[in-house]
Amino acid sequence: MEVATSGASMSLVSENVRIEGELGGEENILINGRVLGSIKLNGDIVVGQSGVVEADIEGNTIVIQGTVKGNVTARNHLEIQATGKMIGDITAKSIDIKEGSTFEGRSRMIKPGRTEPSPAVPPTTPQTPAATAENPVTAGSKGRII
């Protein structure tokens, strides 16, 4: 079984082609045309300068040189280059947002060692602090120390 590495095999959506639907599989892809729908690949994704993607994108390394409207999840690295325009939420293990690019949305990092992003809202105060005598302000505490 061959491992798909970047540069090994690269699919291409050329500039005057429009795909409406879902792209899946184990391919790297360069998108210079339009894609509407969803892209979920075990491979690298490059949205070229003329590319317009209105879809949620999931891939390994994602490079945005064109326009993306949708949520993007990069399992490894996400790069928004100077000509890139990213509107939507991004989730990635590492990000690089170049000067001149446009990004409107939320960013969440995947901590190395985890496969899922850390929760968006960090837990605030602990729900059940140890109900010790020193801490009078706990729900359900029986008495107060005066």
Binding site: A4, S9, M10, S11, L12, V13, S14, E15, N16, V17, R18, I19, E20, G21, E22, L23, G24, G25, E26, E27, I29, N32, G33, G37, L41
Partner: protein, 128 residues
Amino acid sequence: MAWFKKSNGGEEPIDSVLPQPSSKNGTTYLGKKLTVSGSITGRDSVQVFGRHEGDIRLDGDLDIRETAVVRGNLRAAVILVGGTAEGDLAAVSKLKIDRTGVVKGNITTPALALQEGAVFNGEIKMRS
């Protein structure tokens, strides 16, 4: 001034049926491990090596390669089938089914070429 020119004899090699890359339009290349479900439309040519489910309508040429499995109605200027195509195919100028090609469905084309070994189950209609 006379100069010598070797004449070919005027016979066209089979390869001339393959779409010539046009400088105006690009070619979309859908690799072997790519699955597309949805419609593909556009002015360019498309080469499919993987799986596709859905309609394809192109101004350019459509090349369904040996590893490709395409389900849906297809329409293009020139359609070459070297893989499997299920659905109705309509070519504006010509349609060719290679010896590895399998077509299940009706085809409409003004010009047809079928290589020995090709599998075709369907109706064919040729416009005059």
